[in-house]
């Protein structure tokens, strides 16, 4: 077995984090490593946690880590924060909330920057999950970047999705909207000690009565989580959250839905891999040959249009490949 793969499968944090970095930085070797690693993946339970910026995703992730560690499960966390579109820099501040677990060898927290991805994750997230799976983590929590209404790439990666809401973000119509409100397997109303929490709960509950998930045998529960600065009630609430997530996992297994979701995940992975295998070398050759510049000049002057250009390039490229 490849030395890197061997170390990762033995749980070596340094090697794992480096491979995740190679994936993020798109080093040519990383893909080959993932190919070798893949056979060792697929055994972890993957939980997604998503919601608006400041809704409390990191604090809840920290609480979930604590709950799962009580059950002696090993936990990997991937926490995504936004990359600046101007400088490419990023502040990765999610782990501030999780530092009490920093020294626990059963917990591995790795921050990722979005690097231009728009779906709430980073392009490297899928493979970073695989690295943590190969390390043998029982549970992997993927915390998305703070999102709005429809950055929902997380559904292609997680088995169970927690959507975190907070009171005061709009009226009843917001709960009816497509996108984010449809993807929750478990809802959290966080900061439930604040005004408007009960109303949000009622609105959400009445929306959920129409949820198509109910017909499949699962009604997304709503967990109220109160003031994080009142440790006793907070940990009671978060214990309930962990339990609901476990219940959903069990439901997925028993209903056969888990296989369905893994299927969806596999298809999304093929699509990602395809676009990287096709697009990366293509764009690379267009740029290094200077053709991209010439073509964009032509389009700018309305000598041609983007579709004709794309068709011509695709045909040429496919001919060369076959």
């Amino acid at each position: 077995m490849d030395a890197t793969i061997k170390k990762i499968c033995a749980g070596d944090v340094r090697t794992a984090s480096r491979l995740i970095r190679d994936i993020e930085d798109k080093l040519p070797d990383a893909k080959a490593k993932i190919k070798k690693l893949y056979a060792h993946t697929g055994k972890s339970f993957i939980i997604g946690i998503t919601g608006a910026p400041g809704a409390g995703k990191s604090t809840l992730t920290d609480a979930l880590i604590a709950e799962f560690r009580k059950l002696n499960k090993t936990v990997g966390v991937l926490a995504v924060d936004p990359t600046s579109p101007f400088t490419g820099g990023a502040i990765l501040g999610d782990r501030i909330r999780m530092q009490r677990h920093a020294e626990d060898p059963g917990v591995f927290v790795r921050s990722l920057a979005t690097r231009g991805a728009l779906g709430g994750l980073s392009q490297a997230a899928g493979n970073a999950i695989h690295v943590m799976e190969a390390m043998g983590k029982d549970i992997i929590i993927v915390e998305t970047v703070g999102i709005g209404q429809q950055e929902i790439d997380i559904i292609n990666h997680a088995h169970s999705v927690i959507v975190v809401l907070v009171p005061g973000m709009g009226d009843e119509i917001q709960t009816m909207k497509a996108g984010l409100m449809e993807i929750a397997d478990v809802f959290v109303i966080n900061k439930a000690n604040r005004a408007g929490a009960r109303q949000l709960q009622t609105e959400l509950a009445s929306m959920l009565n129409l949820s198509p998930q109910i017909a499949d045998g699962w009604k997304p529960p709503i967990v109220m989580v109160g003031d994080a600065f009142k440790p006793e009630t907070f940990s009671e609430n978060t214990a309930e959250l962990a339990q609901k997530v476990e219940e959903h996992h069990l439901y997925l297994q028993q209903s056969g839905k888990l296989t369905e979701r893994m299927h969806r995940k596999a298809m999304a992975e093929i699509k990602d891999a395809l676009s990287s295998c096709l697009m990366e070398p293509l764009m690379h050759s267009l740029i290094t040959s200077g053709e991209l510049k010439k073509l964009s000049e032509k389009i700018k002057n309305r000598k041609t249009d983007p579709y004709s250009v794309a068709e011509e390039i695709t045909q040429r490229f496919l001919k060369k490949e076959s």
Binding site: R14, G93, R95, Q99, A102, M283
Partner: protein, 141 residues
């Protein structure tokens, strides 16, 4: 759209961690630096205040950073800074550069350099000079 976004070309991005060891809660400087590193195009892991050297070393390894910047204004740097270096090398991560800043009297510099701290920045150091130092001295892993 930058050409980087267009091509998805391989590129090693500088990853740094800004950490405050010990009981000192004065994090204005650390936050300004974190922000300045962000604007320099680095990925910056910020761990917040009141960190033990053990937490800092473990986090640096989990995050695979090139550099750890320690900020301390309480006077405990003589103990805390060398301890981070020691812990990192104990975990086979002596390639992670450790620099320090804060209220650090000049007579402590040589002791800190001897312990493996690679640079020290005190009040008055310009943000640009710190970024420049990092760019010049960090060879990304």
């Amino acid at each position: 759209m930058t050409s980087e976004e267009l091509t998805n070309m391989p590129e090693r991005k500088i990853r740094v961690m800004v950490a405050k060891p010990g009981l000192d809660g004065h994090d204005r400087g650390a936050r300004i630096l974190a922000r300045c590193f962000r604007d320099a195009g680095f990925e910056v892991v910020y761990t917040g205040c009141h960190q033990t050297p053990e937490q800092i070393a473990a986090s640096a390894i989990q995050e695979d950073v090139d550099l750890v910047g320690l900020s301390c204004l309480s006077g405990a740097h003589r103990v805390l800074f060398p301890r981070v270096v020691e812990l990192l090398s104990g975990k086979g991560a002596s390639d992670i550069t450790v620099i320090g800043g804060g209220i650090i009297p000049e007579q402590d510099f040589s002791m800190l350099y001897d312990s493996g701290i690679k640079a020290i920045f005190t009040p008055g150091a310009s943000l640009d000079s710190i970024v420049e130092w990092i760019r010049k001295n960090i060879k990304t892993h």
